[in-house]
Point group: C2
DNA sequence: GTAATTTTTGTTAGCGATAAAATTTGTGGG
DNA sequence: CCCACAAATTTTATCGCTAACAAAAATTAC
């Protein structure tokens, strides 16, 4: 079956292509197409099963009504959540989302961004990977509308939406302290990411403000390439200090999952022997024998803010928004009370 | 910064657009462009940061090099896994994947398929939702290349890739029986999906072939709209029979997660009181106090088969493939030995 | 009845790229 | 010097659609 275009409908009805275009774009009124022809055209379009060629339309209009989204890893709970939120919001604004996953890889990230640009997306929503500063600068130079989410580079002035990571870590740590914990370990990735450093800072500030002397052994940095092994070592470390830690605060869900897996193996009792708290959420947390207390990111709000900011940018409004959101502490039963 | 096109490069170098096109498409040799001009053009393209407009190219070529993928729910582990596999394989074949999630909703599914077609994808890989038969038939009538994965409709002859669900359920059930279980419950969705019925059939056949008399109370059907409540009821039921079940086999990971959550609440000991086995996999399974024995689907192979089949179809080869794959039984510690 | 409007429909350029066909330039042989 | 042929480059039509503009048909005014 040959593809049917405007021309086919025009011939079928016996009118010009323009009329068909007007009618099928809802311009029948304004372009004063006779009711008679309008009806015939609609009918023919239906019968011939006409499908507008978006590619052609995009080319003509120099606008694709498409947003490119690059997440860090499609397997992260964060990624699927934010993708959903963004798709829903984009749909409201009549945009389609073109989606890609960088797998935290610099080259893949750059490649994806390029593919999306070549496909003429009208704008980009990006979860940047480590060392992608040059890519970001390139986008700025090329004047391509984009918004960063979750992560950003403080040395580059961009529109971005992210959690207030300092506050989240600060509040969560304070929560643990208030519950009587004195020796709180914090597990984070060994990373250059600003947003993760902010979590460190929040943790440290909370200790300080509550008069707890920080012990350098408490802050454990994990190499993501060597995640599970590093975590085992780190846990062994903090549980076997002369003054063992009475709580472990994980900076991400992936860290927490690996940590809990090992704690399970060690048969360490949670929260009896050690309390657990984590950033992000995971289905897995609910299946741990005691639901894990965690910081839930406002994915909906984030997605909405990202799309709305991007839409403004795409409408050529020069704006500069740095939106900072707060997380919810979802109290499970993994912290001693 | 204005977008630069072939024309800009042509003007900059002082040659015609055609030459530029030839050079940038690697046709310099065959079209015998002088080395001198070829070099100048490449240099200019670099300097001006030229980006080919895929939209224009697609329109001209009547081919977008894009595959549309519709998964059932981006939150399923299956979806992210298969998406990754498909993206990787598509990339090898030089296709980009346009992605959407139907959220198991019929209208959303139809809408997504239409959006993808309008965007002129060259072919579709679909995880069809319930009652989407008409959509599938429409695709056939429109002669749009597509492949179904995971699920299919036996009444419609299509190219599809799926697990051998009967065999998987049969083997897993047999595994339980071999381990000495006598009263095995099977939890499945109350659904019209053929692939899920196949799981029922596999379960039932295994019982029969092993001389176990089936008790109708063992097969529990869950309404997905009412998942958690239904599962609680079902679990209460099978654990409180005069002859309580000694194993529960879940037909999907989502069912298992909900079930385990409740078993946790009930403090039912696994595998002491009841053994657990599930289809699919989930990160959560590893965090359950005893890792859950489960059937792992060969997502890589599935993705590859889907893309390869689709590529053949898109190359206008009339083929008819029904590929059936086998799953691995990943033995955890959730089954009594 | 004709000019001036108003209503309705048709023609066409162009979005950015490709590629077939046409054209120009270069080379060597007779 | 002219011609044939090859090498190098340009011209042009086209993909399907939009929208400005042009043109035709219908209506109104006088």
């Amino acid at each position: 079956m040959k593809k049917v275009g405007l021309k086919d409908i025009a011939e079928h009805v016996g009118v010009s292509i323009a009329l068909v275009s007007y009618v099928l774009n809802g311009q029948a009124e304004i372009k004063q197409v006779s009711k008679e022809n309008a009806a015939k055209i609609k009918k023919a379009a239906e019968e011939l099963n006409y499908r507008p060629n978006q590619i052609a339309k995009s080319l003509k209009m120099l606008k694709t009504h498409t947003i490119g989204l690059v997440v860090a890893d499609i397997n992260y709970r964060f990624s699927t959540g934010i993708t959903r939120a963004i798709e829903a919001e984009a749909k409201k604004e009549n945009y389609t989302v073109l989606f890609g996953s960088s797998n935290e890889n610099e080259e893949t990230f750059a490649e994806l961004v390029n593919v999306l640009i070549n496909r003429q997306v009208d704008g980009l929503i990006l979860v940047p990977v480590e060392n992608s500063q040059d890519q970001i600068k390139m986008l700025q130079k090329a004047e391509i509308p984009f918004v960063l989410i979750d992560r950003n580079f403080p040395e580059i002035k961009t529109n971005h939406i992210a959690l207030n990571n300092h506050k989240a870590a600060y509040d969560a740590t304070t929560h643990l302290i208030k519950q009587g914990h004195q020796r709180i370990a914090f597990f984070n990735y060994n990373t250059t990411f600003f947003h993760l450093h902010e979590r460190n800072r929040g943790y440290l500030d909370a200790l300080k403000d509550n008069g707890i002397a920080f012990n350098a052994d408490w802050l454990q940095e994990i190499n993501s390439a060597n995640r599970y092994a590093d975590i085992q070592q780190a846990i062994d470390k903090v549980l076997n200090l002369s003054q063992p830690c009475d709580a472990v605060f994980f900076a991400t869900d992936t860290l927490a999952i690996n940590g809990l897996k090992y704690l399970n193996r060690l048969k360490v009792n949670v929260p009896g022997q050690v309390s657990i708290l984590s950033f992000d959420e995971s289905e897995a947390f609910e299946l741990f024998y005691c639901p894990v207390t965690h910081l839930q990111q406002p994915l909906e709000a984030m997605g909405q803010a990202a799309v709305n900011t991007l839409v403004e940018l795409m409408n050529h409004n020069k704006i500069n928004k740095q939106i900072s959101l707060v997380s919810d502490l979802v109290v499970g039963r993994s912290c001693r009370e």
